[in-house]
């Protein structure tokens, strides 16, 4: 493989953690093209972002049969995204922070933040349990069904019985 630095492209590291990170950045990046853009497509294009609330999340994560697919998608996505993001930040900061002592501090902070975010994100995805009582209370308080569709989608209007009960 040619590694001419004059070619203007990033040179692959020789080995160790940096080589692992080099491959991981590329593999996670390519997977995130589908996972993250798919996530954006569902939440911003298919649905209206204004209709997202607790009930919307509950309908995905606690859906019968397919709920685990959404949880798996989100878990894989945040794992890859958090690694990709924090490793990218580390690479950027390494170009500006050159002292070895400072780098130890920065790297420790970066990896700690990464694991902390993975922990709370993973906890949320794996430990979620649908709270029907809360959704009922929300509907009574707001006088409308908790899961609304885009205004243009007249096919998915709420059943009249639910609206009447909510009033």
């Amino acid at each position: 493989m040619s590694t001419r630095s004059g070619a203007g492209r990033r040179v692959r590291p020789a080995g160790g953690f940096e080589l692992f990170a080099w491959y991981a950045m590329r593999v996670s990046g390519l997977l995130l093209v589908f996972l993250a853009l798919g996530h954006l497509f569902i939440t911003h294009i298919v649905f209206n972002v204004e209709s997202i609330n607790y009930a919307f999340v509950a309908n995905r994560w606690a859906a019968p049969k397919v709920g685990f697919i959404w949880r798996l998608w989100d878990l894989v996505m945040i794992s890859l995204a958090v690694f990709h993001g924090f490793n990218g930040l580390r690479q950027v900061l390494d170009e500006y922070i050159t002292g070895s002592g400072k780098r130890v501090v920065v790297h420790t902070l970066i990896w700690s933040c990464m694991w902390a975010l993975l922990a709370i994100g993973g906890y949320a995805i794996l430990m979620f349990q649908r709270d029907d009582k809360y959704i009922k209370e929300w509907e009574l308080e707001h006088g409308r069904p908790a899961t609304a569709a885009r205004p243009a989608d007249s096919a998915s209007q709420p059943p009249a019985a639910l609206v009447d009960r909510a009033r």
């Binding site: 492209r9 853009l37 204004e50 958090v82 409308r144």
Partner: protein, 170 residues
């Protein structure tokens, strides 16, 4: 190669000089795509941190989650009756921010594919200008469609307000 740990003189200079020198460097398309890739990456990371924390509210504090995401629709709720309500500029601001986020992720994704292409197929470097043109065209075509879809609801009454009016009329 006696002293390889010596910090290059370039790095010793101040942060501001490095930024201005970097902007003056005439790297052409490659330099600008590198800069935009980097800025969008950091922007997406900032949003990702906020987004993981707010999604944690779904499990920990469901009501707080609903109050938080309602702000996307321009609604302040759960604070004080004198403050609570619908604010259309808030709705517009979040919509435009949403569009900015989609633009960042979309550019970072398409340009990232271009970078990976160079890494695994080095000959592609010979066509880097054409490839960046492909990135630009793909980005703007998708962004045009996305903008229509994301911005158009702003010109109609939000669905929560439609319901409020419908129930108030009865």
């Amino acid at each position: 190669m006696a002293d390889t740990t010596r910090v290059p003189k370039y790095y010793v200079r101040g942060f501001r000089e490095r930024i201005t020198e970097g902007l003056r460097y005439g790297g052409g398309v490659g330099q600008w795509s590198w800069l935009v890739h980097r800025i969008t990456g950091i922007g997406i990371l900032l949003f990702l941190i906020i987004h993981i924390i707010d999604t944690f509210f779904v499990v920990a504090f469901p009501a707080l989650y609903d109050h938080t995401v309602a702000i996307y629709g321009g609604i302040i709720s759960g604070i004080d009756p004198s403050v609570n309500g619908y604010y259309w500029p808030l709705r517009w601001a979040f919509r435009l921010g949403e569009l900015g986020l989609i633009a960042c992720v979309l550019f970072h994704a398409i340009n990232g594919v271009r970078i990976v292409l160079f890494d695994f197929w080095p000959k592609a470097v010979n066509y880097q200008k054409q490839l960046f043109r492909v990135v630009q065209i793909t980005f703007w075509v998708i962004m045009l469609l996305v903008t229509i879809r994301v911005v158009s609801p702003l010109f109609s009454v939000p669905e929560h307000q439609q319901n409020v009016k419908a129930s108030a009329g009865k």
